[in-house]
Amino acid sequence: MRRLSGGKESVRFQILARQFALPSTVTMIALFYVPLLIILAYSLLTRGPYGGVMLPLTLESYRRVFDPLYGQIFWRSIWIAAVSTALCLILAFPLAFYIARSGGRKTLLLNLVMLPFWTSFLIRTYAWMFLLRDTGLINTALLAVHAIREPLPLLFNDGAVILGLVYGYLPFMVLPLYATLEKLDDSLLQAAADLGATPWVAFWRVVIPLSKPGAVAGSLLVFIPCLGAYLTPDLMGGGKTVMIGNLVQNQFTTARDWPFGAAFSLLLMLIVLGTTRVLGKRGEELL
C-alpha cells in the first residue's frame, strides 16, 4: 500500500514541513508563475520597433493566432501530435503487455525501455538524421546494392517528424500501459477461457477494456510533448514542417514579434492545462 503522508506523528511536523516547502514555493512563483504572467502581459502588448514590447494594450496578437495562415500551423501540429500518439499506442501496447507478463525480468525489461529516454533527446534525434539523410546509412546501403537509383527522401518531411516523435516518446506510453497491465489479474483471463472465450476474444473483451486508464494516461503524456515539440520538427522536418513550437521560437528569436509568440505560447499552455485536467489525479500517480 502507498503511504502518502509521513505517519501518525505528522501533526508535530507541520511547522517544519511549511518551512521546508518555502524555498521551493518561492522558486516556483519566481521562476514558473511570474514568467507565465509576463508572457500573458507581453501577449497583450504591441510589438516594439526594435523587437521589444510597448503600449498600447491590444488583442491584435490573439486575432492573428486565429488567422488562417497560422491556424494551418496549429491544426498541422495537432494532426502530427495525434498521429504520433496513435502510433505510440499501437506500438507500445504489445510491448507493455509482453513486459507485464515477463515474471522476474519485468523490471529489467522496463528499465531497458526507459534508459534511452533519459539519454539526450538531441542525440537520439541526431542518430535518426544519421540513418535517414540522403547520404545517410540507409540510402547509402540501398544505393550500394542498386535497390534504388536516387536517394529516397526519408528525412525533412512530416513522416520523419512523426518517426522522431514516436521514437522519442514511446517510453511515456509504455510506462502507464505497463502499470495497468501489470495489475491485471490472470484469473480474469482464466475465467474468460473457462466461459468459452478464445484467447483473442478474451484479449479484446477483457484486457483492452481494463487497460483503458493506462492508455488514456499514456496518450496524454505523449500528446502533450508532441504538440509542443520543437527540436524534432526543427531537425527532422527541415523547413517544410513547422509546428507551434517552431513558430513560437521563431517569434522570440528571428522574427522578434514577442507579443505574437507570447499569445501562441499561452494557447499551447492552455491546451496543456486542459489535457492535464482530463488526466487529473491519475496522472499524478503514474508520473
Partner: protein
Amino acid sequence: MRRLLAVYAGIAYLFLYAPLAVLAVFSFNASKIAVWQGFTLHWYGSVFHNPALLEGTLNSLVIAGAATVISTILGTLAGYAIWKRRMPWLTNSLYLSLLSPEIVTGVSLLAFFAWVFRFGHVQLGMHTVILAHISFSLAYVVLVILARLRTFDPTLEEAGLDLGATEWEVFRRITAPMLLPGIVAAALLCFTVSFDDYVITSLVAGVDSETLPMMVYAMARKGVSPEVNALSVMITVGLGSLILTAGRLERRGR
C-alpha cells in the same frame, strides 16, 4: 501468441537501440561518409583537441553542477514537506512545470529575464541558464524523493520523537541519512536532465554560456560528421552510466 509477442518485443528493443548502436559503430569509421572504411579513434581525438567543445563541456558541467546542488537541496526539502502535509498547491505546480512544453518554459523565462533586466544592467549568461535549469529540474528531484519516502517507515521518526529529539533533529539525524541514496539518485537524474537540455538553454543563454548540447545542435544542423558521432557516444555513455547508477541507488535498501 506468446512467441509472437516475444519476437515483437525483440523488434521493439531493436527500434529503441539500433539507431544509437549504429551511431556508435560509425563513430569509429575511418571515412567521413556512411561507408565503412576501417577502424579509427581519430574522431575521438579530434573532439578532445577542439577548444570550443571543451569550453562548451566546461560550461555544461558548471551549469548542471550548480543547478543540481540547488535543485537537490530545495527538492529534497520540498519532497519531505509534501510527504508530511499534502501541499496540493506546490504539488500541482511541480506537476504543471513538468508537463509544460519546453518551448513555453523557455520563452517565458526569456521574457521574464528581459523584463527583470529593465531594472538593472544584467545580461543573459551562465546565471540565467542556471536559474532556468533549477526551475525545470526541481520537479524531477521531488518525484524521486517522494517515491523514496513512500517506502520509508515513519515509526522510526516517532521513535526519535519519543526519545526527545526535536522534529529538525529527527529529520537531520534519522530521515536524511536514510534518504541519502534517494537524494544522490535524485541529484544524478537532475544532473542528467540539466546537462542534456537544449531547447530552454538555447533561449536563455548568453554569448559566454554556450553549452555542449548547443554545440551538438549547431553541428547537427550543418550536417552529419563523425566528430559529432564520437561526441554523441561519449555524452550518451557518460549520462547513461549516471542514470544506471541512479537506478541502482534508487532500488537499494528498498
